[in-house]
Symmetry: C2
Subunit: 767 residues, 2 copies
Amino acid sequence: MASVQDICVSAAINLLSALAFLLAFAFLRLQPINDRVYFPKWYKKGIRASPRSSGPSVKKFVNLDFRTYLKFWTWMPAALRMPEPELIDHAGLDSAVYIRIYLLGLKIFVPITILAFAVLVPVNWTGSTLDDVKDLTFSDIDKLSISNVPSGSLRFVAHIAMAYVFTFWTCYTLYKEYKIITNKRLQFLASESRRPDQFTVLVRNVPPDPDESVSEHVEHFFCVNHPNDYLMHQIVYNANKLAKLVEKKKSLHNWLTYYQTRYERNPKQRPRTKTGFCGLWGTSVDAIDYYTAEIDKIVEEEAAERERVISDPKAIVPAAFVSFKSRWGAAVCAQTQQSSNPTIWLTEWAPEPRDVYWDNLAIPYVELAVKRLLIAVATFFLTFFFMIPIAIVQSLASIEGIEKVLPFLKPLIETEKVKSVVQGFLPGIALKIFLLLLPTILMTMSKIEGLVSLSSLDRRSAAKYHLFVLVNVFFGSIITGAAFEQLKSFLNQSPSDIQESFQLTTLTIPKTVGVAIPLKATFFITYIMVDGWAGIAAEILRLVPLVLFHLKNAFLVKTEQDREQAMDPGCINFASSEPRIQLYFLLGLVYSVVTPLILPFIIIFFAFSYVIFRHQIINVYDQKYESGAAFWPDVHRRVLIGLVISQLLLLGLLSTKNAAQSTPLLLVLPVLTIWFYRFCKERFESAFVKFPLQDTMVKDTLERATEPNLNLKAYLQDAYVHPVFKSIEIERAPAFDEEENNPLVSTKRSSRRSSKPASGGVTPEPV
Amino acid sequence: MASVQDICVSAAINLLSALAFLLAFAFLRLQPINDRVYFPKWYKKGIRASPRSSGPSVKKFVNLDFRTYLKFWTWMPAALRMPEPELIDHAGLDSAVYIRIYLLGLKIFVPITILAFAVLVPVNWTGSTLDDVKDLTFSDIDKLSISNVPSGSLRFVAHIAMAYVFTFWTCYTLYKEYKIITNKRLQFLASESRRPDQFTVLVRNVPPDPDESVSEHVEHFFCVNHPNDYLMHQIVYNANKLAKLVEKKKSLHNWLTYYQTRYERNPKQRPRTKTGFCGLWGTSVDAIDYYTAEIDKIVEEEAAERERVISDPKAIVPAAFVSFKSRWGAAVCAQTQQSSNPTIWLTEWAPEPRDVYWDNLAIPYVELAVKRLLIAVATFFLTFFFMIPIAIVQSLASIEGIEKVLPFLKPLIETEKVKSVVQGFLPGIALKIFLLLLPTILMTMSKIEGLVSLSSLDRRSAAKYHLFVLVNVFFGSIITGAAFEQLKSFLNQSPSDIQESFQLTTLTIPKTVGVAIPLKATFFITYIMVDGWAGIAAEILRLVPLVLFHLKNAFLVKTEQDREQAMDPGCINFASSEPRIQLYFLLGLVYSVVTPLILPFIIIFFAFSYVIFRHQIINVYDQKYESGAAFWPDVHRRVLIGLVISQLLLLGLLSTKNAAQSTPLLLVLPVLTIWFYRFCKERFESAFVKFPLQDTMVKDTLERATEPNLNLKAYLQDAYVHPVFKSIEIERAPAFDEEENNPLVSTKRSSRRSSKPASGGVTPEPV
């Protein structure tokens, strides 16, 4: 058990490391050479140009203007200054709403903290149970927690009342936030300019027809069933193989550039490479000739494959993008059922062209159902039993395991020093690798489920990750202290023991966990400081993109366009970062009544993250798609899941404190919360999944009045073509160009492009 | 514990009473005087006419043709003879699918019974645990059950394998049945002739507008947002008060007729009545004059109210029936969201005119959400704590209670004989009354929830009743032997004891129930015979309608039309009878592995009910509405709930038999079952809730081709007018007339009307 002093030390360490990260960031971002790492969003938009073009050569790489170093903290107010409507214009609604999650955390927890410190802390402090116990397992922190209140005391009335107040406050804030975000989404959708997906519906599971091709079948079906609105359709080619060839060509191109750069720098010796795996073995050949020949070969192959895909009817998948004459027609088709057989002619609103996940468009219905079952079972096992394979790997990675598999290493690892390193380090590394790979594993699982847009893939992965965090980080930590101890001890038991202890655990979870909660407060405080403070500060430093950019810059970049591509702005990693925020909501809600001392730490996390991510979405991140905050219902639901968990745990805790008569009173809370969830779902969710006809009608009418001669067919002609068929601008999907001519992103600042960078100076604070 | 002999005696008694009912039915139905009680459906359709019109007068009342008595059983094959397509034409899809539930029971349980008797009975019989025990608590029947297999025996492999086989067979049958019924529904909808609800959408929560009336607002909104399809709309008046006046007038008319009849029979003395409550006190007046005056008064009142409703804008509720030019337009409007605010302009497919529940059309959105929460909580308390108020009433209804409230009765009830009757009879009567009232209570609760059609009210009440039966009849009986013992014992405990024993019960339900199941087999066998055999046989006798018809006939009937109205054909009471069938499914599935001996009794129930209800829907019932088997998804879900319960109970049972290693094997079953449920839901359910555009388009095109000059507006003009505004034919809703000109009901037999009854003979077997 940590004392107050321990916590202070830990806080100091973490604060210092966070400060170090921030100082490093403040220094690095002022160097012109790193400009493209810390302000890539402005480059992508063309508002900021390379500082290389003018000025003395040293200034190109290092910032010598020392006055700017004194103002190293200015990015913080700068990040906060941009008003929200402009932020939505600049970074999109997804990003703007994402940082509102942090703001929501502040809105919920600041009043709760004040109330908890005003009411609960005095009540707990004067409870004085622990003064009598004089036990080593209790620390000063526990004196501020509910543990200090004697069993069966009337003081619990305060805790129950506060549980009610906190529940109502949380629900009220969530309701207001849901309302605001719904309005923002509707405004955003209403103000958007013309986009192909507004007119288009994705049709899947087109039934096979013996007499007609997929294209004819689709055309006939929609001509008959939507006679007034049908405009055209685009068939989907199965171009997965072609996409792989294109990818390979790109990599070969990179190697060729690399060797050409080497040859230019050292013209005396032509670089050589080996033909085998990764250039490590095989016959040695001239590298430039070799890669030139390889590229020629693959260009031919690609042309043949391209020919095959276009001409072979088997390369056409039974899905199509069907476009309508009006947004109204598309809205009708997307929301209605076409055929009496609900497994064919499935229509849904088409994702944005750049949001389409092309690989999954062709999965038949029954296969999809089976895949979903398998993934559901796999998710269950991954969540609850992931320690088993890791334990096996760990046992292999022990000293004995290594000696068995690689006996020649025996003398080396038997050395005392090496041995201690192996023993201390190896068992942990398997777990670390697993946790690093986890988001990728979850994303792969979501892809197997057959979702057709990147945004829905992100949302589905986030749901899986949330379950994992909930079970393994939260409950794992609470029940066993360290997240994985419990499962490890299971592994040492006989099967029947496992079953019994498992049954015992599940039957008594509320009580067991209720007792354990107050004891784990210090553990979670430390966790918040490590993961939430220092971890978030590391985010802004962008160490990995920084290194990669300079490596690419040294070996691959030749033209200004290459440099453009060498930038890796990254994007908000919704699938793994949102579930992490949810953990903080959960911790805050659970401990608000039990150990209010944890709340200030959570508030600092939310405030700090808000500033940092606001800076990042303004200056760095470049989102891959824009879903119009479609993820919000998930966020809302998960906060409420956290609230219900906190209510049930409080119920379990109080029933062990001889306050069982409070059970009915506390049971009311989850019932009300679940009802509130359903109420909000009915009230707001449709704005995120459905498309009101009234709004489409307004936009259609407006457009017909302002642009009576619009040729919609020409506009939509190539919108939904697989990216590999846009042969020349292979890296930029059509909607990307769309985006650029879009008022959504052309902010007021576009005029600066010609003025500021031309003055030769660096503009570290563009906001 | 009942022995085989006890069961045989009980079976004999119940078989005899069932036989007595059937014989009474066979006798009574042959009497011409009862013809309208036992064949009302044919009268309603006008295919059968009163036998009074011709023949000798005795023959009008009593059937003297003794040969017909010898063929008293012929109704059974007659009931089975009508082929299903004709049955659907004759009685509607709802009824035809309802009796298919019994058929489904046969399809599931006949093969299961054969397999269980071939495999499990020998395995159990030779288990011979009970031979050694020689305990009085076990009977011969238990020798056939799983109780006879020793703990930890390998024989349980047979039971687990059978659990798998039964699960797969049940799912397979359910899948096939769902598919058949979906096809039947689609065929039925496709073959239906033109009906107003095909073109009409019910719009609720029309937002208030300061400048426009509801009618104008609706017209403008749909003219703008459905410009090609909107045809017209009908506003809804709040005519609940007017409907009450009309109802009262009808009752006064009945009294007038009654006194007039009395006067005609005894012209010497004019009948007199008292003006007070129910004619029991008050001043005595001439009855005919009094009621004539009363009717005049109410006719005036009604006219004034009718005037007020039509002219007062406040009498218009914010809802409307909006009709479209095509079925396609209506399908689009019903399936899409109209406004970005999902709480206004709510559209759903309009129910049939006669299916509309008019009182609920005006409830605003938030009120609805609160009401639903309250009803959910009320349902919970009704289901789990209904014994508390009944116990209070019971304690009041005891000897002491009566003596306290009505002391003057003391000498009477202190008599020994009266006392024993009171003690034996009164406590039970409160419970009996409650159980009789339960369907009405549940229906009232469903009405409060704000559903707008009678069919959905029936479905919602059935869901509540199912929960009640599941908790109180099934689990109640199993846990405590008699359904209500447990709750009674709760009432005698202190509050904290209750809580503890409640927690204990909930934590160990699977085990407790698992142990109790085999012991309750004989109880359920008796239950099946009383409720399922004799109870169903009583259904066909129609004792209550028989008595009521003859009473009405004696006092109220003057004209042929009065006689028409005196008939009470009744209808399938879906809300309470479907959950009762589900109990048999549940019992069959639970005991199929545990005590297969119960299965033959269930098979007899299903077969017997099938024949009887087939007879009833052909000859008696007159459905109030036709929902096209919209209830099937509920039936399907509840059978699967029963299946999952049976799997969990088997799991609990085996874990007490030292066969815990079977737990993972058995856990697979509920997972698969739930997945199967979701699969079926996605695959079929949309046919019951959505309206495919393709089908509507086909019907529209066909209609346009066959009837190019159809005046749809005139056709729909008065379709959705509140029944009280159809002043003259007050008892017949418009759709009723519709129905009569409908090929749906005019069967081949319509030609017989003129031939057979005109011959003067009785036609007891119309089929």
